[in-house]
């Protein structure tokens, strides 16, 4: 502890809100050197497109985690909305199908929120139960079969279209991020959200509508999950209610990696999006280097551990005590 001030400033920068940027720079430099093929415009476009799904659902999940909760049912909601879209396209057309999927997911989000606020069940167990229920509903709705809409190539717009060379999923991600960021930092909702997340009792006493905020946050996770569903259908033109198994956990992973605290009260949407791109770089980079998806999962797990370890050990002692 010789250069205490120096260590302090450096570690504050590295472990603070901007840790994810440092991590991002290091990892992407690493892959840029090892796999130069990753740096071509096409491959970068791929990286961003495959980051879109987790980035969008991560933005919604950031709200739930800022509240100090989780939404484990996001995967089931995503799967259900893909089924709704795919089954309705032939008869109702694409716009109406997508609208209905959004309606269904808003409903799911409201139900999640009501269960959490009215029945006072912890978010973890509540969404664990609704995850099973929603999946069951999806399976009954589809009869457990995959629904294909290969004939409806116009649905491809959501994954293939480009505006000024930028793929639509990337633009959608940016739009979702901007809207969420606006809600988070510029609106009353964001203030209420942070207040409810950091100290629920105090927020209630200060007349913050905690229950409404909770319901809204879970609607946000459901709606963003549905948006990921739209892009998924558009990419593969099939839907199956039993997909989405690790979807919620992936979203939670990017949110945490991005620097949102699990204890609630402070979310970091920018970090979530960057972390989603980071994961995508790792996945695409490892594929280019010829590794299978087992190694990808291994690396993602290790990076999660490593980044939180670095954070813990670099956080100055004084701050640690305050945090405790």
């Amino acid at each position: 502890m010789k250069n205490k001030i120096n260590v302090y400033t450096v570690s504050r920068f590295v472990t603070g809100k901007y840790f994810i940027f440092v991590l991002f720079a290091v990892v992407s430099a690493f892959f840029a050197m090892l796999a130069p093929a990753l740096c071509t415009p096409d491959s970068l476009r791929n990286v961003l497109v495959s980051a879109a799904l987790t980035a969008i659902s991560g933005c919604g999940m950031t709200f739930a985690i800022t509240l100090g909760g989780f939404d484990l049912s996001a995967g089931s909601i995503m799967a259900l909305s893909t089924c709704v879209i795919a089954s309705m396209i032939p008869e109702a057309g694409i716009p109406l199908a997508i609208l209905s999927a959004f309606a269904v997911s808003v409903l799911a989000g409201v139900i999640n929120g009501l269960i959490i606020t009215k029945l006072r069940i912890q978010t973890f167990v509540a969404t664990l139960a609704t995850q099973v229920i929603i999946k069951g509903l999806g399976l009954i709705y589809t009869g457990g079969l995959s629904i294909s809409v290969f004939g409806y190539t116009r649905m491809k717009v959501f994954s293939n279209a480009q505006i000024l060379g930028i793929p639509l999923p990337v633009i959608l991600t940016a739009a979702v991020f901007l809207v969420c960021q606006f809600l988070y930092s510029q609106c009353k909702f964001g203030v209420y959200l942070r207040a409810s997340g950091s100290n629920r009792k105090a927020a209630e006493l200060s007349a913050v509508p905690v229950e409404k905020v909770t319901i809204c946050a879970f609607v946000m996770t459901a709606v963003t999950a549905c948006m990921s569903g739209v892009i998924t259908v558009s990419q593969v033109l099939t839907a199956n209610a039993s997909t989405g198994g690790s979807f919620a956990l992936n979203a939670i992973t990017v949110v945490v990696l991005g620097g949102t605290s699990l204890s609630g009260g402070s979310g970091f949407l920018g970090g979530t999006v960057i972390a989603a791109v980071l994961i995508s770089i790792i996945e695409n980079g490892l594929i280019l280097l010829g590794y299978s998806d087992d190694i990808q999962r291994l690396v993602i797990g290790l990076i999660l551990i490593a980044s939180l370890t670095v954070k813990t050990f670099m956080t100055p002692l004084a701050e640690k005590e305050v945090a405790e």
């Binding site: 973890f124 664990l128 009954i140 291994l298 939180l308 813990t312």
Partner: protein, 327 residues
Amino acid sequence: MKKITNYLREHTILLTLLLMLLLLFVTTGRFRSLDNFLSILQEASFIGIAGIGMTFCIITGGLDLSSGSMIALLAVINMLILNATNSFLAVLAVLLLGAALGAFNGVLVAKVRIPAFIATLAAFYVFRALAYIITGGNPVSYSAPWFIWLGNGKVLGIPFSFLLMLVLAFLAHLLLRRTRIGRTVIAVGNSPEASRISGLNNDRAVIFAFMMAGLGVAVSSVLVSSRLWSANPRMMDGYEFKVITAVVLGGTALEGGRGSIFNTVTAAVFYCGISNAMTLYRIDSYVINIITGMILLLAFSLNPIMQIMEERKNKAEAGNVKAGGGR
């Protein structure tokens, strides 16, 4: 009288499940057969044994999401060692390895101070990936009679795995209630700050609790792979949620500080009993999903609802008598 109401209150979830089981018992003929009961007990032990370890973990206020990945990894390793050595030492090695992996999770949570949810989420990715890497994605099988007996054998007509669960539950109960480390586990869950100030070693208790979770998974992994005669890296996906469900249904609070091993084991049996009965009822497997979810919601909401009712009652009784108890 007060004792009875207290008992009822503490065991609401279990009593509700018992009621459901009785209902099923009366209404379905095939459910009543002895063979069916034995198979329920056997299924339950695969969840219950891991649940015993998980109870320790949840009492500290933690959670282990890596169980499903860990059970696949351990089962695969178990089969590989068995094939290589043909020796029962493989089982011992797997138990040790399970404890070690659990302790690794514990160190991440206690020493590195990563929230349990995230630490074990990372382990969830890592263990599953390792299972794939070790086997190259292929199933491994082993069928020596002594090994197959572990998961399929019966003692006096009762499945060995169920008896093992009872013995382990008893030991774990003693460990939790009667030893220093067990009491520390409960103290940490109640208030980490208070237990630290009282000079207890919090970190050791947390690492111990996660180690128990790993050990429970290791025992289950041996039983499950013996039951199936084989193991593959894809197996037991979503297992951790079943285990956590059994523990929570048993009344162990996710915020930590209280819980009971026997209730976990009982809840595991009831949980398996109810899903078994639904299958016998020829309920569509998709509908079973929904009913299971509803039962979970019902069970989880019982305690909070009673709490709300109690609060109302306390309010009605006016404020001069301070309401004690309750966390």
